[in-house]
Symmetry: C2
Subunit: 112 residues, 2 copies
DNA sequence: CTCTTATGCATAAGAGTTTTAGGTATATAT
DNA sequence: ATATATACCTAAAACTCTTATGCATAAGAG
Protein backbone atom coordinates (compact mmCIF):
# COMPACT_ATOMS: atom_id res chain seq x y z
CA UNK A 1 0.00 0.00 0.00
CA UNK A 2 1.08 3.53 -0.68
CA UNK A 3 4.70 4.42 -1.18
CA UNK A 4 4.98 2.85 -4.58
CA UNK A 5 8.41 3.33 -6.05
CA UNK A 6 8.90 6.19 -8.42
CA UNK A 7 9.26 5.18 -12.02
CA UNK A 8 12.64 6.67 -12.57
CA UNK A 9 12.64 9.79 -14.65
CA UNK A 10 9.31 11.18 -13.57
CA UNK A 11 10.41 13.11 -10.49
CA UNK A 12 11.69 16.16 -12.34
CA UNK A 13 8.47 16.44 -14.29
CA UNK A 14 6.45 16.22 -11.09
CA UNK A 15 8.46 19.03 -9.51
CA UNK A 16 8.14 21.24 -12.57
CA UNK A 17 4.42 20.66 -12.84
CA UNK A 18 3.82 21.57 -9.19
CA UNK A 19 5.82 24.74 -9.57
CA UNK A 20 3.85 25.64 -12.65
CA UNK A 21 0.69 25.54 -10.59
CA UNK A 22 1.84 26.99 -7.31
CA UNK A 23 4.19 29.64 -8.63
CA UNK A 24 6.69 29.16 -5.82
CA UNK A 25 7.29 26.31 -3.38
CA UNK A 26 9.96 25.08 -1.01
CA UNK A 27 11.28 21.54 -0.82
CA UNK A 28 9.47 20.26 2.20
CA UNK A 29 6.26 21.75 0.87
CA UNK A 30 6.64 19.73 -2.32
CA UNK A 31 6.94 16.45 -0.45
CA UNK A 32 3.79 17.25 1.53
CA UNK A 33 1.88 18.40 -1.52
CA UNK A 34 2.62 15.21 -3.41
CA UNK A 35 1.63 13.12 -0.41
CA UNK A 36 -1.61 15.06 -0.18
CA UNK A 37 -2.75 14.99 -3.79
CA UNK A 38 -1.85 11.33 -4.22
CA UNK A 39 -3.50 10.43 -0.93
CA UNK A 40 -0.28 8.98 0.37
CA UNK A 41 0.33 6.87 -2.73
CA UNK A 42 3.55 8.62 -3.59
CA UNK A 43 6.17 9.75 -1.13
CA UNK A 44 8.98 11.83 -2.53
CA UNK A 45 12.10 11.09 -0.52
CA UNK A 46 14.25 14.04 0.44
CA UNK A 47 17.33 12.23 -0.78
CA UNK A 48 15.87 12.37 -4.26
CA UNK A 49 14.15 15.72 -4.03
CA UNK A 50 16.92 18.05 -2.93
CA UNK A 51 19.52 16.90 -5.44
CA UNK A 52 16.85 17.14 -8.13
CA UNK A 53 16.03 20.72 -7.15
CA UNK A 54 19.71 21.64 -7.20
CA UNK A 55 20.10 20.13 -10.62
CA UNK A 56 17.07 21.90 -12.05
CA UNK A 57 18.45 25.13 -10.65
CA UNK A 58 21.87 24.46 -12.18
CA UNK A 59 20.17 23.86 -15.52
CA UNK A 60 18.59 27.29 -15.28
CA UNK A 61 15.03 26.01 -15.00
CA UNK A 62 14.49 27.21 -11.43
CA UNK A 63 15.29 30.35 -9.46
CA UNK A 64 15.84 30.30 -5.72
CA UNK A 65 14.87 32.77 -3.06
CA UNK A 66 15.68 32.30 0.61
CA UNK A 67 13.17 33.24 3.24
CA UNK A 68 13.15 32.95 7.01
CA UNK A 69 9.90 31.89 8.61
CA UNK A 70 9.64 31.33 12.36
CA UNK A 71 13.39 31.33 12.60
CA UNK A 72 13.51 28.42 10.13
CA UNK A 73 15.02 28.78 6.69
CA UNK A 74 13.07 28.05 3.54
CA UNK A 75 14.37 27.91 0.01
CA UNK A 76 11.61 28.90 -2.35
CA UNK A 77 11.91 27.69 -5.91
CA UNK A 78 10.11 29.12 -8.88
CA UNK A 79 10.19 28.49 -12.61
CA UNK A 80 12.37 30.65 -14.79
CA UNK A 81 11.17 31.54 -18.26
CA UNK A 82 13.27 28.72 -19.62
CA UNK A 83 11.79 26.50 -16.93
CA UNK A 84 8.25 27.29 -18.02
CA UNK A 85 9.02 26.30 -21.59
CA UNK A 86 10.80 23.16 -20.49
CA UNK A 87 7.89 22.22 -18.22
CA UNK A 88 5.54 22.22 -21.19
CA UNK A 89 7.95 20.03 -23.14
CA UNK A 90 8.43 17.50 -20.38
CA UNK A 91 4.74 17.32 -19.64
CA UNK A 92 3.89 16.49 -23.22
CA UNK A 93 6.70 13.94 -23.27
CA UNK A 94 5.32 12.29 -20.15
CA UNK A 95 1.80 12.36 -21.51
CA UNK A 96 3.02 10.75 -24.71
CA UNK A 97 4.85 8.12 -22.73
CA UNK A 98 1.72 7.39 -20.75
CA UNK A 99 -0.26 7.04 -23.96
CA UNK A 100 2.40 4.69 -25.30
CA UNK A 101 2.27 2.58 -22.18
CA UNK A 102 -1.51 2.44 -22.38
CA UNK A 103 -1.21 1.20 -25.95
CA UNK A 104 0.93 -1.65 -24.71
CA UNK A 105 -1.08 -2.38 -21.60
CA UNK A 106 -4.47 -2.05 -23.21
CA UNK A 107 -4.03 -3.29 -26.78
CA UNK A 108 -7.80 -3.53 -27.20
CA UNK A 109 -8.29 0.19 -26.93
CA UNK A 110 -6.77 1.06 -30.26
CA UNK A 111 -8.05 4.57 -29.64
CA UNK A 112 -4.83 6.40 -30.25
CA UNK B 1 10.98 12.15 -32.48
CA UNK B 2 10.39 8.59 -31.39
CA UNK B 3 12.92 6.81 -29.30
CA UNK B 4 11.86 8.42 -26.06
CA UNK B 5 13.79 7.11 -23.10
CA UNK B 6 12.24 4.37 -21.05
CA UNK B 7 10.98 5.44 -17.67
CA UNK B 8 13.08 3.17 -15.57
CA UNK B 9 11.18 0.30 -14.09
CA UNK B 10 8.63 -0.16 -16.85
CA UNK B 11 10.59 -2.52 -19.10
CA UNK B 12 9.89 -5.68 -17.11
CA UNK B 13 6.19 -4.94 -17.10
CA UNK B 14 6.22 -4.41 -20.85
CA UNK B 15 7.93 -7.75 -21.41
CA UNK B 16 5.54 -9.57 -19.11
CA UNK B 17 2.51 -8.01 -20.74
CA UNK B 18 3.61 -8.95 -24.25
CA UNK B 19 4.24 -12.52 -23.17
CA UNK B 20 0.81 -12.64 -21.57
CA UNK B 21 -0.70 -11.83 -24.95
CA UNK B 22 1.52 -13.74 -27.31
CA UNK B 23 2.07 -16.85 -25.21
CA UNK B 24 5.67 -17.25 -26.33
CA UNK B 25 8.16 -14.84 -27.87
CA UNK B 26 11.89 -14.52 -28.46
CA UNK B 27 14.00 -11.50 -27.65
CA UNK B 28 14.39 -9.98 -31.06
CA UNK B 29 10.70 -10.46 -31.66
CA UNK B 30 9.93 -8.42 -28.56
CA UNK B 31 11.99 -5.45 -29.74
CA UNK B 32 10.22 -5.52 -33.11
CA UNK B 33 6.79 -5.91 -31.55
CA UNK B 34 7.28 -2.91 -29.28
CA UNK B 35 8.55 -0.84 -32.19
CA UNK B 36 5.49 -1.85 -34.20
CA UNK B 37 2.74 -1.25 -31.67
CA UNK B 38 4.21 2.05 -30.53
CA UNK B 39 4.75 3.15 -34.13
CA UNK B 40 8.45 3.61 -33.49
CA UNK B 41 7.91 5.67 -30.35
CA UNK B 42 9.67 3.20 -28.12
CA UNK B 43 12.77 1.24 -28.99
CA UNK B 44 13.81 -1.42 -26.53
CA UNK B 45 17.58 -1.69 -26.61
CA UNK B 46 19.03 -5.18 -26.62
CA UNK B 47 21.43 -4.22 -23.87
CA UNK B 48 18.45 -3.72 -21.60
CA UNK B 49 16.26 -6.49 -22.95
CA UNK B 50 18.47 -9.56 -22.70
CA UNK B 51 19.62 -8.99 -19.12
CA UNK B 52 15.99 -8.30 -18.19
CA UNK B 53 14.88 -11.59 -19.74
CA UNK B 54 17.62 -13.47 -17.91
CA UNK B 55 16.61 -11.88 -14.64
CA UNK B 56 12.93 -12.67 -15.10
CA UNK B 57 13.91 -16.24 -15.88
CA UNK B 58 16.11 -16.42 -12.78
CA UNK B 59 13.18 -15.16 -10.72
CA UNK B 60 11.10 -18.03 -12.01
CA UNK B 61 8.67 -15.86 -13.95
CA UNK B 62 9.72 -17.12 -17.37
CA UNK B 63 10.54 -20.47 -18.91
CA UNK B 64 12.90 -20.83 -21.86
CA UNK B 65 12.79 -23.12 -24.84
CA UNK B 66 15.44 -23.15 -27.55
CA UNK B 67 14.49 -23.53 -31.17
CA UNK B 68 16.49 -23.50 -34.38
CA UNK B 69 14.93 -21.70 -37.31
CA UNK B 70 16.79 -21.33 -40.61
CA UNK B 71 20.01 -22.34 -38.90
CA UNK B 72 19.60 -19.42 -36.47
CA UNK B 73 18.96 -19.96 -32.78
CA UNK B 74 15.94 -18.54 -31.03
CA UNK B 75 15.24 -18.54 -27.33
CA UNK B 76 11.52 -18.58 -26.79
CA UNK B 77 10.29 -17.25 -23.48
CA UNK B 78 6.92 -17.92 -21.94
CA UNK B 79 5.26 -17.08 -18.63
CA UNK B 80 5.37 -19.60 -15.84
CA UNK B 81 2.38 -19.90 -13.55
CA UNK B 82 4.15 -17.66 -11.09
CA UNK B 83 4.91 -15.30 -13.95
CA UNK B 84 1.25 -15.04 -14.87
CA UNK B 85 0.33 -14.05 -11.34
CA UNK B 86 3.17 -11.59 -11.13
CA UNK B 87 2.20 -10.06 -14.47
CA UNK B 88 -1.24 -9.22 -13.12
CA UNK B 89 0.33 -7.62 -10.04
CA UNK B 90 2.78 -5.52 -11.97
CA UNK B 91 0.17 -4.41 -14.44
CA UNK B 92 -2.13 -3.13 -11.73
CA UNK B 93 0.81 -1.41 -10.06
CA UNK B 94 1.69 0.31 -13.31
CA UNK B 95 -1.92 1.28 -13.92
CA UNK B 96 -2.12 2.72 -10.43
CA UNK B 97 1.08 4.65 -11.03
CA UNK B 98 -0.32 6.04 -14.26
CA UNK B 99 -3.49 7.12 -12.46
CA UNK B 100 -1.37 8.80 -9.79
CA UNK B 101 0.67 10.62 -12.40
CA UNK B 102 -2.49 11.77 -14.13
CA UNK B 103 -3.72 13.17 -10.83
CA UNK B 104 -0.58 15.25 -10.61
CA UNK B 105 -0.44 16.23 -14.25
CA UNK B 106 -4.12 16.90 -14.67
CA UNK B 107 -5.31 18.20 -11.30
CA UNK B 108 -8.54 19.41 -12.90
CA UNK B 109 -9.71 15.92 -13.66
CA UNK B 110 -10.39 14.93 -10.07
CA UNK B 111 -12.05 11.85 -11.51
CA UNK B 112 -10.22 9.29 -9.45
C1' DC C 1 11.48 19.69 31.70
C1' DT C 2 12.70 16.20 28.63
C1' DC C 3 11.54 13.51 24.72
C1' DT C 4 9.28 12.87 20.48
C1' DT C 5 7.34 14.59 16.28
C1' DA C 6 7.14 17.96 12.74
C1' DT C 7 9.50 21.18 10.02
C1' DG C 8 13.40 22.31 6.99
C1' DC C 9 17.76 21.79 4.83
C1' DA C 10 21.64 18.69 3.09
C1' DT C 11 24.95 14.84 1.46
C1' DA C 12 27.00 10.10 0.73
C1' DA C 13 26.84 5.24 -0.20
C1' DG C 14 24.46 1.79 -2.35
C1' DA C 15 21.13 -0.34 -5.44
C1' DG C 16 18.72 -0.72 -9.57
C1' DT C 17 17.77 0.15 -14.47
C1' DT C 18 18.90 1.74 -18.77
C1' DT C 19 22.13 3.48 -22.55
C1' DT C 20 26.08 2.98 -25.09
C1' DA C 21 29.28 0.33 -27.17
C1' DG C 22 31.10 -3.37 -28.18
C1' DG C 23 31.20 -8.76 -29.67
C1' DT C 24 29.70 -13.24 -32.43
C1' DA C 25 27.17 -15.50 -36.18
C1' DT C 26 23.90 -16.66 -40.19
C1' DA C 27 20.74 -15.15 -44.08
C1' DT C 28 19.40 -12.06 -47.57
C1' DA C 29 19.51 -8.33 -50.62
C1' DT C 30 22.45 -4.91 -53.40
C1' DA D 1 31.62 -8.00 -51.84
C1' DT D 2 29.18 -5.29 -48.73
C1' DA D 3 25.44 -3.89 -46.22
C1' DT D 4 21.27 -4.89 -43.82
C1' DA D 5 18.33 -7.84 -41.16
C1' DT D 6 18.08 -11.42 -37.95
C1' DA D 7 19.54 -13.37 -33.43
C1' DC D 8 22.04 -13.84 -29.39
C1' DC D 9 25.23 -11.78 -25.66
C1' DT D 10 28.04 -8.82 -22.12
C1' DA D 11 30.61 -4.90 -19.86
C1' DA D 12 31.24 -0.13 -18.73
C1' DA D 13 29.18 4.04 -18.00
C1' DA D 14 25.38 7.04 -16.96
C1' DC D 15 21.45 8.12 -14.59
C1' DT D 16 17.98 8.10 -10.96
C1' DC D 17 16.30 6.79 -6.87
C1' DT D 18 16.47 4.64 -1.87
C1' DT D 19 18.48 4.33 2.36
C1' DA D 20 20.94 6.18 5.88
C1' DT D 21 22.83 9.73 7.84
C1' DG D 22 23.66 14.60 9.67
C1' DC D 23 22.35 19.33 11.44
C1' DA D 24 18.96 22.66 13.41
C1' DT D 25 14.52 24.89 15.24
C1' DA D 26 9.53 24.61 16.84
C1' DA D 27 5.80 22.53 19.04
C1' DG D 28 3.45 19.13 21.59
C1' DA D 29 3.24 15.18 24.95
C1' DG D 30 4.41 13.13 29.08
Amino acid sequence: MGNSKLYKGSLNTIILKLLEESDKMYGYEITQKVKEITKGELNITEGALYPALHKLEAEGLLDVEMQKVDNRLRKYYKLTEKGTTETANRLSELEEYIRTMQTIINPNWSIN
